[in-house]
């Protein structure tokens, strides 16, 4: 076992240790999540977090990176992302400069070729960076919203995650000395391949419970009154029962709480809810929906029985 991994294993030696470390970073990890992080460190397996947008999946990777005090390498996936650009690119401008320089001081062709296709001219992209772990420290690799990438990319990623090596034809193969701590997230807009899932420890993350959300608000929004935090958490719970296009996530909760604190609100009333709805709902249709149900009704904890189509 490499020393760096033992660093991860030390920080994440037990469920309680994970919970404490996360708490120091102002992240409240429930026991299943903490256990999964611990197992990921011990078994050196990637974690696959699935859940609705805005439940804090990405944050897990960020907190892991902070706790382990390692670099966070983030690979944001999108439609049409191709494998090549996630590994490396050559620094063409620099190569051309080098060639021009070589013209004035002629040297053997092979030497020049070797020199301009060397590490110095290589621009490492996320996957290569995660594997090369410069400085001898493993990194935390966040592969965000993998469900957005095409299936071809998923297959390629599978290869990387099983061998932890990538190849640059001109230089050779890089193999990870220390396995990075890998977190994959998916909003589940499509099903991922079974092979990829099999590589990972799977955890579905739900919206936080009322009590947990209140605690998150209390921790993240300085100067908020407990009563207001409690009301906000309760309202978010109700709002998530409404069939909005975009159900508000935890980020929206925090935005809203900060806005309310800024406005010196100590208790949300129907007018405040309507006026600040833009913090919680990001679609015009959704805001109209809220109006048609009636802010007062939401405040009384009723999401409207006809809320679901």
């Amino acid at each position: 076992m490499s020393e760096s991994n033992s660093a991860a294993m030390q920080a994440f030696s037990s469920v309680e240790a994970v919970q404490e470390a996360f708490a120091r970073e102002n992240f409240i990890a429930d026991r299943p999540l903490a256990l999964t992080v611990m197992l990921a460190a011990r078994l050196e397996k990637p974690i696959l977090l699935e859940g609705e947008a805005g439940v804090g999946k990405t944050e897990v990777a960020k907190v892991v990176a902070r706790v382990l005090d390692t670099e966070l390498v983030r690979l944001q996936c999108y439609e049409g992302l191709d494998a090549q650009s996630t590994i490396y690119e050559w620094n063409y401008a620099k190569q051309i400069l080098a060639i021009r320089m070589a013209e004035s001081a002629p040297q053997e062709r092979a030497v020049l070729e070797r020199s301009i296709f060397s590490d110095e001219f290589l621009l490492a992209r996320p996957l290569l960076r995660a594997i090369r772990d410069s400085g001898g420290r493993p990194v935390t690799l966040l592969i965000d919203e993998i469900d957005r990438a095409d299936e071809e990319f998923e297959a390629f990623l599978l290869e990387v995650l099983s061998d932890y090596q990538v190849t640059v034809p001109e230089i050779g193969t890089f193999t990870a000395k220390h396995r990075p701590f890998v977190v994959l997230t998916s909003n589940r807009t499509r099903e991922l391949s079974d092979a990829l899932k099999r590589r990972c420890l799977y955890l579905w993350i739900d919206y936080p419970t009322h009590a947990k959300e209140r605690e998150i608000v209390m921790r993240k929004v300085p100067g908020i009154e407990q009563a207001l935090a409690d009301q906000i958490a309760g309202l978010m719970h109700t709002l998530r029962e409404v069939d909005f296009y975009k159900r508000p996530g935890v980020a929206e909760t925090l935005d809203w709480a900060r806005a309310l604190v800024g406005l010196n609100v100590s208790r949300v009333d129907p007018t405040t809810l309507e006026e600040t709805a833009g913090c919680i709902l990001k679609y015009k249709d959704d805001i109209e929906r809220l109006r048609s149900i009636g802010p007062a009704k939401i405040l009384s904890g009723d999401a409207g029985t006809n809320a679901r189509p």
Binding site: P32, D150, E191
Partner: protein, 382 residues
């Protein structure tokens, strides 16, 4: 690392007293049970389970459960199945009664447990809600399969070609491209001692259009089903990134089933997935699902929404209107293929159809090859 771990005798390392071998056996038995409940339990996963158990306090029931679950379940649905099997299996364990646990996971057609998730998780609301006249049956789809329709393939290929017209951000090599590909030029000219002799060019890739296909399989559409099936299969093959869902009173995504190698496997899987085949219709709810699920992310510019339905609807027209509006914002164009259109005396008067029409860009018939060919010509302009 993995190899090394696989070689360690995991059994011996399990914490606790002599009951270890017992636990080992029980876990194996549990894995087998999960397998029969439909989870993909491989030997690799089982090795990981035992490695995981080494790291947790197995006496803590919740830790034990989560350690097993993160390794064995690979989706939210599987998590739910896992929980149920776990309860049944280890709960029975407590009483000291080692009688084999019986499971009722496979619902028989008339005795369904309503909480078995067969719809994707984005399907909100109780499925019972619209189960009024739902007909759940295991349709023998294969019996309806009339074999390949020659000519359809060619038409769909042509359609795929016509729809792929969006320039992408990515480039590919091309002899007469506008842009000089530095990367390839550099590689190529190394052999001339870095004098630039040949330039490699590239041009923008053409981005493939993504189809989102929502197919009505309710009773009123039944007659056309063989044709529908072929169309769905053909479109799925022709457009790699497309997604297909079928609906009647509920929505089931069948993309994966359509990707199977053999038609017979596909038919068997589609049949078992879409048990509401030939039931009633609720277009509004189906669209709502579609908007929140398949279409929630991804670029609207590259997506064409295709709805195959006769528009006979039992739901609320106001919801149909609202969801059609939402759909039109999530797609580049909406094509409504109505098999009834063109039959004599048909006018789109069905209420669901009427409320949807204002948002439909192309309203077309398709019930056989000639109409499909005409459809393809029109779609080429989308």
């Amino acid at each position: 690392m993995t190899a090394e771990a696989a070689n360690t005798p995991v059994i011996a390392e399990l914490p606790g007293d002599g009951s270890n071998t017992n636990l080992f056996g029980r876990v194996l038995e549990f894995c087998r049970l999960l397998k029969s409940a439909g989870l993909n339990v491989t030997s690799g996963r089982m090795v990981d389970v035992f490695r995981a158990l080494n790291c947790v306090e197995v006496e803590r029931r919740d830790d034990f459960r989560v350690a097993l679950r993160v390794n064995l379940a690979a989706s939210r649905e599987e998590e739910e199945i896992f929980e149920r099997v776990f309860e049944a299996f280890w709960e029975g364990d407590r009483g000291g009664d080692s009688a084999p646990v019986e499971l009722h996971l496979e619902p028989s057609s008339d005795d369904r447990t309503p909480d078995v998730p067969e719809t994707p998780p984005y399907v909100r609301g109780s499925p019972k809600q619209y189960a009024r006249d739902e007909v759940l049956r295991d349709k023998d789809l294969a019996a309806q399969w009339p074999g390949e329709l020659s000519g359809m393939k060619a038409i769909l290929r042509e359609l795929a070609r016509r729809l792929a017209t969006r320039p992408s951000r990515r480039f590919r090599a091309a002899r007469r491209g506008r842009r000089i590909d530095l990367r390839r030029s550099m590689r190529k000219n190394v052999r001339y001692g870095m004098d630039v002799v040949e330039l490699t060019r590239s041009q923008r890739r053409i981005r493939k259009t993504r189809l989102a296909l929502l197919c009505d399989v309710s009773g009123s559409m039944d007659v056309y089903n063989p044709f529908l099936l072929r169309l769905m299969l053909g479109l799925q093959k022709g457009f790699k990134n497309s997604r297909t869902a079928v609906f009647s009173t509920r929505v089931t995504e069948i993309t994966r089933a359509l990707r199977r190698q053999s038609v017979h496997e596909t038919l068997a899987e589609v049949g078992s997935l879409a048990k509401h085949w030939s039931g009633g219709t609720d277009i509004g709810a189906a669209l709502a699902n579609f908007n929140r699920g398949i279409l929630r992310e991804g670029s609207a510019n590259s997506t064409v929404g295709i709805i195959l339905s006769d528009g006979y609807d039992q739901g609320d027209p106001a919801i149909v209107r609202r969801e059609m509006q939402a759909l039109s914002r999530r797609t580049r164009a909406i094509v409504w293929i109505n098999p009834l259109l063109g039959t004599e005396g048909y006018a789109p008067v069905a209420q669901g159809m009427r409320s949807a029409l204002p948002y439909v860009d192309y309203f077309l018939p398709a019930y056989d090859l000639p109409t499909l060919r005409a459809l393809c010509r029109t779609l080429g302009e989308v």
